[in-house]
Symmetry: C2
Subunit: 568 residues, 2 copies
């Protein structure tokens, strides 16, 4: 807001000169916990006042509930696979007018260029996008990321008006046994919001983590964990995305125990476009919170003023003079179905999003060395480590057994497939190879460049030719998802933006995803599971028990790469 | 906190290695509203954890209540008349471990030098002093201050770690009809905390004021005013200082109506040293809040986490791992009498304060032109404007009447005395002269360099010789308070620090104040009134109805100097 804008807003408030009046609303006041029947006057993107107003441009709320625009307290936009402007379009339709985004995924691929890209692409869109700088790039030292971001790299971002803190400190080991790099970051941000990510952390380790600086957590899996963390001064994001469970029981216990909700926020973290379209976004979390006994006003505060206060967003999270006119009109405070969404003082109209910028640094992120035909040869002798998928879970188990072989090389059979992680950032030619059970691909391969958190290229299949064809296909389109069978590409979703995001409209992304699933089913992956999500997490060396990175098979329980001697 | 300090604190939390343990406390948890029986581990000025701890250095709380250190949400340290280190000593004894200070008074005398001085003098003291930059220097254009502070002057302070926002915007007219200078300041601080000061402001003007940026108010005189301002998004400081009334009824109504207290803070604004010594400081406000029906935990939050959140003081206002170990042990949560005060992890020991720095820019603030013997001649003809004091109030009334004269000049008699405001910053020689009723001085004069807000030298008396002697005495000692009679100085309190603060120990300041009152009584000022406070506010051109500045008599209702033609 420049000076003349500020002056005009002040003057228009003093002289009752709005550009838009929302008449006859039940206005939710997050400061007094009241619902007030009133009109809301808006001008220049700002609320001028709540009271009796009229002007030439009126919208009749007809007694519906006018809430502050909802804020997602923690989200990775990249995981939607849509360009930020298109992601914005989908969530705005559900009443989410601001997000606290952590561009952790694109930063792991493109480094600070990725952060600049996300800031640039969100500068002029109707969704307010605030950024927490990714704290863990690379996420671990057991894989090769596209970039490394140090505290010094972060400094230039700190004066950016939408950069507000340090993103989720997933590496709680580094935070609590402070090493050079993480300590630098924690120190740099010590007076600003720092997000935590500390599943199951308790007792002395939790205390040390709090001393280190993180003051939020979105990973709680029980009410007891919530209680301990709130007592220790953390604010809790109640997370309800695509792959999260257990939060509703936590909500119920919060309500039952009367735990103050002032320290609670809500977030999606990762939620698929189709799920957002179908059930909602933050408004869906409010619906579930109310269904589980949390009073509607408290639920709304978790998605508005509580988030704004935590992240120091002055003028967000409330409907009051001087606040940004981000609002959503709900039919009721039970289902939270939006009637009209206002952003920056205007009625939000879906489908008006801007086109992606084709930044060559971001669009050319797949850098593979040439492959030799024998590059996937996997010599076997004696027992081999097997990565066994657990149905409907992200966790895996480590088995060791003898496997089928031919000429001393692994030969996929009996439900065992080959899995390969190609380092795809620096064209090093490095390939981590392993054996997987639980994704019984027949006569084909699937592959992706979305592979948390370093986003190397992951391919799985029962024959090397299809696997290599899948890699070729992804290399050609700048990354994405692909299904190949018998020398042919069956389905493909190009994700040219860092190998993570599509530049297509949302409808086409969702359609492509459905084709991908059908193609995967045709080569033996059973209906009802999403092999692409499974693959995307197969390289994340923080989820038990076993992973595979470009450096090889990795035992998460020992935090070490698996050597041949470990299994024989 | 430097990096090695941070690392040590993290490590000591992880390994349960405290330097001090407070055993067997009832720990007030402002996050969960619980009171938990526990030990508190402290090291390096930081709370490491709350639980079961022991170490070589233990303090047994014996079941007393351990609260976060109390925070005064808005105070002018200068008005205590003590040097900041000595002010700190007094308030720390009452459990106040941090203050949000607005160095408005010294800034009006010394400009940015005054702010640097206050920052410097509070750098190493055990009280945490955060600064809001004074927004109104000068306070009005109807008087001559020692300095003018523009937005550009403020910019260098914004990177100071203890400068946290813009101080009370008293000039609500400038804020709501935004002019160049105030608009610059509001724009500069638009994303940071801005304190308001808006007595009785309501409706459209209040809305415009909120749009302008201030988000707190400490001037509410009724519950209805509180409610309107909270609804509009302001946080309210419940102020209980030396000269404030009506706040207890507001507290009672807050409790009765169940108005959420999350948006409430407490402050003293101005409270005399003797009053603090006698009844308490922030702890006294908590006592009155509880006596008026506000739950103790809510009252405590008003003085701790609510203030810390509003002013973005990460690590303040709570007892939790990573928070600054500012704590106070109370016998009960009714009287709030402190047993032990901890600041920065140590037991506070009174009387250990540092000596004032004799900065020559600050210590030589009284710059008067030489006085001619006839400089106080006040020609009179016809009716004259009279400033009539209202007993026990700061407001005044404007009378007009014929007054005693001799050779065409005013001759004090019949309870009328002469009052003179000497411009004392720039040696301009300018003197504003007037006639006052209600302070019946006989055979003498009293004078002060404490004169809100420009702090010119104000003298009142019934003869010019004593008035001029009083001026000479204050000039000689660098400012202060003085009582003169029949050519002799009866009592004096030197305030050499900007003409506002003593560099004496607190006991001696209080003793001198008592002598001053006795001396004033001896020249006719009746017991029970404090003529020095009255004089100090006589030049403040924002309190109705009539004031006097170095520019002359001033009609506050018309916001204009009084011309001869106005009364005849």
């Amino acid at each position: 807001m420049d000076k003349s804008h500020l002056r005009n807003s002040i003057t228009n408030a003093a002289h009752r000169n709005p550009a838009l009046v929302i008449k006859n609303a039940r206005v939710v006041n997050v400061f007094t916990d009241e619902i007030v029947e009133a009109d809301v006057a808006v001008d220049g993107g700002i609320v001028l006042g709540v009271g009796k107003y009229s002007c030439a441009n009126e919208i009749d709320a007809k007694g519906a509930y006018l809430c502050p625009g909802l804020i997602d307290g923690h989200v990775h936009i990249e995981s939607s696979m849509a360009h930020p402007a298109r992601f914005a379009d989908v969530v705005l339709s559900k009443g989410t007018t601001a997000v606290i985004a952590d561009p952790h995924e694109i930063a792991n691929v493109c480094g600070t260029n990725g952060i600049y890209y996300m800031l640039g692409e969100t500068e002029w869109i109707p969704l307010s996008v605030f950024m927490m700088l990714p704290s863990c790039v690379p996420a671990t030292s057991f894989e090769t990321s596209g970039a490394k971001i140090t505290a010094r790299d972060m400094e230039p971002f700190m004066s950016h008006k939408r950069v507000i803190g340090l993103g989720e400190v997933m590496d709680y080991v580094a935070a609590t046994t402070p090493n050079g790099g993480m300590l630098e970051k924690l120190h740099l941000f010590r007076k600003l919001p720092i997000d935590g990510h500390a599943p199951m952390l308790t007792g002395d380790a939790l205390n040390a983590y709090c001393v280190a600086g993180p003051r939020t957590d979105h990973e709680c899996s029980s009410y007891e964990e919530v209680l301990e963390k709130v007592r220790a001064g953390m604010r809790i994001h109640l997370r309800l995305g695509s792959a999260t469970h257990g939060i509703e029981e936590i909500m119920r216990k919060i309500a039952e125990n009367g735990l103050p909700t002032r320290r609670m926020m809500v977030c999606t973290d990762d939620k698929h476009l189709e799920d957002i379209r179908r059930e909602g976004h933050i408004n869906y979390i409010l619906k579930r919170a109310v269904a589980n006994g949390i009073p509607a006003i408290d639920a709304i505060k978790m998605a508005t003023i509580n988030v704004a206060e935590n992240y120091r967003l002055k003028g967000y999270g409330a409907i009051a003079p001087g606040c940004r006119a981000d609002m959503v009109l709900f039919k009721d405070l039970v289902d939270f179905e939006p009637i009209t969404v206002f952003t920056n003082g205007r009625v939000f109209v879906p489908g008006d999003e801007s086109a992606p910028t084709r930044d060559p640094d971001i669009y050319n992120s797949v850098h593979l060395a040439p492959r030799r035909p024998d590059c996937l040869d996997l010599p076997v002798s004696g027992k081999m480590p097997i990565l066994r998928l657990v149905p409907n879970e992200l966790i895996t188990e480590l088995d060791t057994e003898e496997v089928p072989s031919e000429n001393g090389l692994f030969r996929p059979a009996n439900g065992l497939v080959k899995i390969a992680v190609f380092e795809r950032h620096h064209a090093s030619g490095r390939i981590g190879l392993g054996i997987m059970r639980g994704m019984p691909i027949r006569n084909g391969a699937i592959a992706t460049t979305v592979g948390h958190d370093s986003h190397n290229l992951i391919a799985a299949g029962d024959n090397d030719r299809d696997m290599l064809l899948a890699v070729d296909a992804l290399e050609a389109c700048g990354g994405g998802y692909v299904v190949v069978s018998e020398g042919k590409v069956l389905a493909k979703l190009a994700l040219p933006i860092a190998g993570l995001m599509s530049d297509l409209p949302v409808d086409r992304i969702i359609a492509a995803q459905k084709q991908m699933l059908a193609a995967a089913e045709s080569i033996g992956v059973k209906s009802g599971t999403d092999p692409f999500i499974t693959l995307s997490f197969i390289a994340l060396p923080v989820i038990p028990s076993v992973r595979i990175t470009d450096l090889g098979m990795f035992d998460v329980t020992k935090m070490a790469l698996i050597a041949e001697s470990d299994v024989n």
